[in-house]
Every structure is written in C-alpha cells, then in structure tokens.
Amino acid sequence: MATVLQVTDFSVDYRTSRGEVRALDSVNLKVEEKEFIALVGESGCGKTTLGLATIGLLPPKVARIRGGIISYKGTDLTKLSPNAARKYRGSEIAMIFQEPLTSLNPLKRIGEQIGEAIVLRHQKEDPKGNEKIPRIPGRTWKLPPHVREQAERMLALVRIPDPDHIINRYPFELSGGMRQRAMIAMALSQQPELLIADEPTTALDVTTQAQVLKLMKEIKDKLGTTIMLVTHDLAVASQVADRVVVMYAGQIVEDAEVHALFSSPKHPYTQGLLSCIPTGNREGKQLTPIKGTIPDLTVRRDWCRFHPRCPAAMDVCARKEPLLKELEKDHRVACFLYGE
C-alpha cells in the first residue's frame, strides 16, 4: 500500500491574547492509500488543526508552523507557495466541515457551486481550454450541458433523490442532511485522493448521521478515496473507521487498528474515554469519568500532558515526555506504562 500522507514531527502554535498556545506538538502520523482513518479527541486536542494544516487552511495570522513536515505523496505541503498549494487543495485533498450551511455559498444554487468545482477540475486537466460557467449578470446561470450532466451524476452518487430538481435549489432550501451530501458531492467532484471530514455529522440528527456516515464508507469502497474523519465521538469512529488515532492536548497518544483499539486500549486516556461512554443502565455500573480538565496549553511542558489526570501516573511521567512507539503491529502508544 502506498502512503498518501506522512506527518513528521509537526508542530503548530496559535498566537492568542494569553500567549502562544501549542496546538499541535510533534505529531507523527502516516495515512495509507484507501484507508478510513478517524482522528478522535475532546475539544482543544488539535484534531481540527491537523486537518486544516493538511489542506493548508490554517488561519494565516494566528497560526504558525513551528516545525515538521506534512508530506503528501512525497511533496512537503508546508513548504509550498500559495499558488502551488492551490494545485493540491480541492483536486488532491478536499475537506468538508461541520456546518454545511456556513460553508456553502447562500447566494448560489447547488448546481452552480458543484459546477464550479467541476469546471475547475477541467481547467486543471486542460489548462489551454477556456471552459467557464457563462453568467448573465443579475439574472440566471447556465451550466454547459456536459458539466450539468456531471453535476447531476455527483448528486446521484451521494444519493440525493431527484438531482435534476435539486440542482436548481439554494442551500437554505435543503435539509441539513441534504446540504452535507451536497458538500460531499462538491468535495468529490474534483476527484480528490484524500477527503478530510471535520465533524461532518455533528450538526445532524442520529438517523441522518448514520446515512451520511454510511455514504462516506460507500464512497471509500467505491472510489478508493482515502478518508480522514475528525470526530469527538469514539463510538462513531468505531462504527466506520479502519484505524483510530486518539489525540490529547496537541499530541497523538494512541494510534491503532480499530478492533485492536477497542479490544485492548492501551493509553489510560483512551481507556478513560471509553469508560465515559454510557452503556447499559445506571443500576448496573457507575461511569468512571476522567478527573480534572485539559491542561493549559500556553505553558510549554516536557512531561506527559495527561499525567495530572491519569490514574496510573508514575514518577517518570512528571519528568519526561513519552514518545509514540510501536507496541504491536498497527498499534502505537505514547505512555511509560509500556516501558521508557
């Protein structure tokens, strides 16, 4: 299997009024082709930052890449000029976001927005051709027939019923689930190799969430798209991902094949997260919450970030920082419980 994405010692700082926040700290991650990987963690753990950094959309004035490499098929994305980065964004790596209503243009019909992405792809494939969407100012828009046909095909691919009709709708006329499907259709219409989905179903109802996640899984199987799902919900990750990466306070603490992670979670934080998920009834057992809260990330730390909350903390945890190391095949963990 070829490696699509390799992140090496990657660190990002955010400038805030309280000082520099270390949002990502020496992150190492490898994503293989056609993998469905889930980045899981609580708010502030850096999972979204990693997604944004990969597609090159970190907020420019606030975020600073402190070091490290994000290599996409051998090209270091962090060193690219804005123009060169644009060649990758959308066509190689695409991203969908939590709230589709804020990422879709409210003033453009669905068909026009998807058409734009398709035309952009055609322009990239054939820089000499001058295909564009003809517009009559203030009145209407019309897609060239072959673009329209492709847009309809994309909508059908994401199981939007009646694409012929939906293509003329504005985003506000669609339901939440339909909007997210339209976003996915738009992201896929440039045939990206890697799709980053940042909490794509958090704003949706559970039955709709199930439909959208099932769709993403189908897309991965059908088109061979590599998917990186960013979620706060371990249960969601367990249902769809091949591999789960657990993050805490800007670092990866555990990275394992999905069955291995859920049958024998190694890191105390992963174990803690799992025991927080209510299963069964209150008569059966009490939940064991993780005590304390996330550490202040403005302070630079050279020790395990989880140790103040960790039930298994040892002396060494307060002195040194554990590194992510391979415990078994396909199972990496950063914890001194498994040797220094």
Partner: protein
Amino acid sequence: MANEILRTVDLRKHFKSTRGMNPLARAKERVIRAVDGVSISIASGQTLAVVGESGCGKTTLARTLALLTPLTSGEIYFDGQRIDDGKAGDKEVYRKLQMVFQDPDSSLDPMMKVGDIVAEPLRGLTAMKGVEVRNAALESLIAVGLSGDFVERFPDQLSGGQKQRVAIARAISTRPRLLILDEPTSALDASVQAQILNLLVELQRKFSLSYMLITHNIAVAAYLSDAMAVMYAGNVVEYGPTSEVLRKPRHPYTVALMKSAPTPDPWNRTLLQIEIAGEVPSAIDPPSGCKFNPRCPFAEAICTIDVPELSKIAEGHTAACHFLQKTA
C-alpha cells in the same frame, strides 16, 4: 396511580405560523403541530426519557409541562393536582418543578454571580430571607460538587461542566420534586458528560427526585431512565420500560433510531445497516396517515390513510404502528 408525579392526557401544543414575506401566503394561517396528542406519566422517583430527533416536539413538550408556554389542549396533572388550568398557583408549581436547559451559556445570566444565580429561585419562589437563602444556595452548590468559593464567580470564569453544575444547583435549590432535563449533557465533552451523568444519578437518590430527560442520545437515555417514550413528528410512537424498548424495539422508527445510535463496538456496526432514508418531515405539512410512512421500510397503502393508535405489546409497552407483527 398514587405514586405518580406527573401525568398528561392528550396534550397538544400547536403554533400558528404567520411568517413569510408573501402577503398572500401570510393570509393563510398555517398550524405547526409541535406536540400532537401526548399522554405520558412519570412515576415518583423515576426517570422518563423522551427521545427523538430535532423537530419531534420533545423540547416543546418539556416547555409545556413546565408551564413556560400555554398548551393548546389537554390536561397536565402534577403531584395529584391539575396545573394547566391556572388554578394551582404557578409559583407553587415552579417551586416543585424545575428545568435544566441544554446550553448553560445561554441559561445562566452572564452578569450575575453564581451565588445569586442559585439563590434567585429561592428569593422568588420561597419565603426564605437573608441568611436562610444564602445557606440554602450554598447547600445546593455543595450538593452538585462545587465549593463555596464559587459563590463570588461569574459564569464566564467557569468551565462548561461547572456551568452545567451551577444550572443544576439552581434547579434543585428549591428542593423540587421533578426536574425536567432538556439535553443536559449534549453541549459537553465525553469525560465531562460522564461526570454530570453520575451527578444526576447521585442527586436523584439523595433528594428522591423524579426526572424527565429530554435527549436525542440513546446511550444517555438508556443509562439514566426507567421508562422511555420515543417521539416522532409530535407524537409518541413507542412507549414502555427502557429495558424492554431497548431490547425489543417494535416501531420501525425506534428500530432505526437504535441502529443509528453509535455504540463503541467495531464488531457490531449497526450504524452501517441502517435502512431508512430521508429526514424528519416538516411539522407544518406532515404526511397523511402515519407520519413515518414515507421513510418506513414496511409501509403499505393503509399507512398513508390511517393514523395508527398506540397499541399494547406487553405490560406497559405500547407502539403505534399498523404492522407491529413485522418487527416482532
């Protein structure tokens, strides 16, 4: 029933919608049937979970029960007394029936100190004065696991979990009998959610509280509740003891809801087996007959004509479907 804390009979709450720019459309008054004939009861000291997706009417039901919005028709009995006709004093009802809202950021006044927030219902609803109020407020804060130091703080100095604790402290300060919890943990991270769930269990035992839990999270409902009512588009479609409903869901919507609820189990990927399509219908113009029929895998002609009634499956377990035998 003697040990019943709350009961509703055919409760309805309809909203009139006159919004829209088009004067012709505005002239035609449209009715949103947010809650359309709900009869439920909560046993004293127990928890009823009302589960459903957005727009199913669960929050409207909660607000109607808490007398925060007048009902359209039906009856509400609380603690043996009818409360919807305005004859029972509202203050007396509010003292015994309190509500905790989803988002503490919007339910706590940012200009008030925590001590005042918790004391407010005591000042408004009880005869307590001065020191008495302060002690009672402090007692509530301690009961939810916060120390006296918090009295002088403002909500923006608290974490999400602490804010929700303050909201709970305020709700229990008047020693109510029933708490209506509207999505009490859905704005919180997983580890904080577990803390709040534990707290709710502890408080229920300590103060013999009854809960009505409104949630879309099946796992949370399963954990906290004794009985469960599944709502869809303004109606209860399945109702029964929680263990029974979870083990043998009979309404096709309940079945789909259970499958969609993600469980941390990669060996049993129920979420990918979901069969239903589409989304919750519009409350203004719902489908005729059974409101679930356009999404239902078992729907037949009768489902578009006849509204199914809740019918008995087992003791205390009912579901509203024409083809219950298909899910048996």
